[in-house]
């Protein structure tokens, strides 16, 4: 780290976060050095701080290997609207830099691909919604017109469908040329009950040669929307970033605000949060294992998984009044003492454990299922590392990374668990890693239920000092989630950055499906189980 400090313009420490300000000339070198030698790239974002010191700032967050510490590289941009791109050396930065370009209008110099990512044609170019001086006028919004006349003629089938169904877009998909290559466009509205996204396959026969996903259809301006709320109202929004990770998102957000304002939550609140995080992981992992069966046509496995998941959802409902554990988190603690329903939890867990075991026995004993999973959708460790993937996907490709271990929070430092990894990197590995995590969650919940915990459910909220900021993080069922919050002069949100695990993992999907057959794409996709809404924000 000496090498980094020597070049730093200023260093500020806050809890386990170290903010290191650097100049534009050293920016790329320092980040590359940190990524290659010292730690893992976690996220990158911009903030409009022109009101404070007249600069935009770029923040790059790294986890330092082997200790609970973050190095945050800060690059202030005074007059320039561009900065040196990291993507050349750190491929994981690819999407972040495109995102910053779309939302702030700050350009990464020498970035290999600066097409728009987050914003589509409904937003004119040169609209940068996350800048502070930007107020979106409705007239700026480009509404694609389908006139009534056209609608009628369409229904009469007199009009050619091409006119309506052509994709009016200035976005150019990458094109693969060669003999026998053809394109299959899919989405954004899909056949199943899933979220919207467009996939452009370039296939040779049945084999996928290249896949380009175009996402962000569900972009809801969440980060900007946080700025219009108070910090405590924001919990509600954080819960609604990604449906099946509601509780983990809310936890990470609350942790960030609590760290920023110096609130110490009680042991009881920590225990409830840890328990609910594991319950969330449990229903997701069991549901996902069942869902993979839908990808191989094993209806009985799908049905069994869905029933077990339903039991856990109903338990959630009885515990917190929400099947998605919403409303259980507040800034400063939790709203429900779920330990009072210990019997219910343990009984349900008993039933679930039995059902889950027989499900796994069925799945692993069904050769037709296992064969479809093996060697399908392989993501090598090397690629996974380069792309900075997280969660089950990373662990199934042999990367031993889990935020619960790397940066212990809540009661995770007291619980015994080992991240499960596999070196296979295929769909089968993603199933077995999930299975191992199910067992791990069950045993963690059992351990948590054994002891009593002291303290109130929630601690009083403190006033928030102007311009303070902090990170909050936890491990969702899909991987690590990060929130970075900053207050303005009145102690209200000035910037809320959220980075969901799906944002890290989506860029890896095209690499995993390369060389697989088109019919295996749903299976690969299910094994990743990424959230569109979480990624699109």
């Amino acid at each position: 780290m000496e090498r980094v400090y020597k070049k730093a313009v200023g260093v500020k420490k806050f809890l386990n976060e170290e903010y290191i300000e650097v100049g534009a000339d050293d920016f790329r070198d320092i980040c590359t050095y940190l990524e290659k030698k010292q730690g893992a790239f976690r996220l990158m974002f911009a903030a409009d701080e022109r009101r404070i010191d007249g600069t935009f700032k770029i923040y790059v967050v790294f986890s330092i290997h082997g200790k609970d510490a973050f190095a945050v590289i800060v690059l202030p941009l005074k007059d320039a609207l561009f900065y040196p791109s990291l993507t050349v050396n750190i491929p994981a930065a690819h999407w972040y830099e495109r995102e910053i370009k779309d939302l702030f209008g700050l350009t990464a110099e020498r970035h290999p691909d600066l097409r728009r990512l987050v914003l589509h044609d409904a937003f004119p170019a040169e609209v940068y919604p996350l800048r502070k001086d930007h107020c979106f006028k409705e007239r700026e919004w480009v509404r694609e017109k389908i006139e009534d006349k056209k609608i009628r003629s369409y229904e009469d089938k007199k009009d050619t469908t091409s006119q309506l169904l052509s994709f009016p877009t200035s976005y150019s998909f990458m094109q693969v040329e060669g003999e026998g290559i053809y394109e299959i466009p899919v989405g954004p509205v899909h056949a199943g009950i899933i979220e919207p996204g467009h996939f452009r396959f370039s296939a040779v026969g049945e084999t996928i040669f290249f896949l380009e996903p175009r996402l962000f259809y569900t972009h809801k301006g969440t980060e900007k929307h946080f700025e219009g709320m108070s910090f405590s109202e924001g919990v509600k929004l954080a819960e609604r970033v990604s449906g099946t990770s509601s509780f983990s998102h809310a936890t990470a957000y609350c942790l960030a605000v609590e760290r920023m304002s110096g609130i110490e939550i009680t042991e009881k609140a920590k225990a409830v949060r840890t328990l609910l995080l594991e319950l969330e992981r449990l229903y997701n992992n069991i549901g996902d294992i069942g869902n993979m069966c839908a990808g191989t046509g094993l209806a009985v496995g799908y049905a069994l998984g869905a029933v077990t998941k339903e039991k856990l959802m109903q338990l959630n409902d009885r515990l917190t009044g929400s099947r998605y554990l919403r409303g259980a988190n507040v800034i400063g603690g939790v709203t429900k003492d779920v330990f009072q329903q210990a019997d219910d939890i343990l009984n349900t867990l008993d039933i679930v454990t039995k059902e889950y075991k027989s499900l796994m026995k069925l799945l692993l004993g069904t050769i037709s299922h296992v064969e479809r999973l093996e060697n399908t959708g392989r993501l090598s460790k090397e690629l996974a590392q380069k792309l900075g993937v997280t969660g089950v996907v990373a662990r199934a490709s042999g990367i031993n990374d889990d935020i619960r271990k790397a940066h212990p929070h809540l009661l995770y430092d007291r619980l015994y668990f080992e991240p499960h990894t596999s070196v296979r990197g295929d769909v089968f590995a993603r199933m077995t890693v999930r299975a191992a995590e199910v067992e791990c969650s069950i045993s963690m919940i059992d351990t948590l239920m054994e002891s009593g915990y002291k303290g109130e459910l929630a601690t009083a909220v403190k006033d928030i000092r102007p311009y303070s900021h902090a990170l909050g993080y936890t491990e969702t069922p899909r991987g690590s989630v990060f929130y970075w919050v900053m207050s303005d002069e009145k102690g209200r949100p000035m910037r809320v950055k959220l980075r969901s695990p799906s944002f890290c993992n989506w860029p890896a999907v095209p690499f995993a499906v390369h060389g697989n057959i088109v019919p295996d794409f749903p299976l690969c996709n299910k094994s990743f189980n990424l959230s569109y809404s979480g990624c699109d924000m």
Partner: protein, 160 residues
């Protein structure tokens, strides 16, 4: 007990409604117009063996062209607006639009964000709403039951 007896009572009405209006088969096309995905999972849960909606003749279909009803979720993000309208157009008439979840009413928690259109009715005509964030599978089912009751009432009115 996964489904309570009171809830089971709803099923009888539901079945009657579907039988009388839709000839025992009501096909639904689900469109996610920028939801947080919890609403979709509740729709998916409807097809699991616990709720098993197929036994009533209800089912989710893969194409709007096969659908009697669109079930829309989400506040309608601006980037999904066009796709939603196209899906609406691709559904043969007479079509019912059922908006599911608080978001669909006025944008819900996302109301006022620069990237949403604040509710489905701003994009396509809506016939019915089911509130909830998300509405549980049972609530969606009772919602559909009420919708059918209204339709039966309308039909009876037209016949008189």
């Amino acid at each position: 007990m996964i489904i309570s007896p009171e809830d089971k009572a709803h099923f009888v009405d539901l079945q009657k409604g579907i039988d009388s209006i839709f000839g025992r088969s009501l096909r639904i096309r689900q469109v996610d117009a920028g939801s947080c995905n919890a609403c979709e999972w509740e729709c998916t849960a409807l097809t699991n063996p616990v709720y098993d909606i197929q036994r009533f003749g209800l089912d989710f279909v893969a194409s709007p062209r096969h659908a009697d009803m669109l079930l829309v979720t989400g506040p309608v993000s601006k980037q999904m607006e066009l796709a939603l309208r196209k899906t609406y157009l691709a559904t043969p008439g007479p079509r019912i639009v059922l908006a599911c979840g608080d978001c669909t009413v006025d944008g819900g928690v996302y109301k006022g964000s620069y990237a949403v259109t604040n509710g489905v009715a701003n994009v396509i005509p809506v016939d019915f709403y089911i509130p909830g964030c998300p509405p549980s599978p049972m609530r969606i089912l009772t919602g559909i039951r009420k919708l059918l009751a209204v339709l039966i009432g309308k039909q009876a009115g037209e016949m008189m």
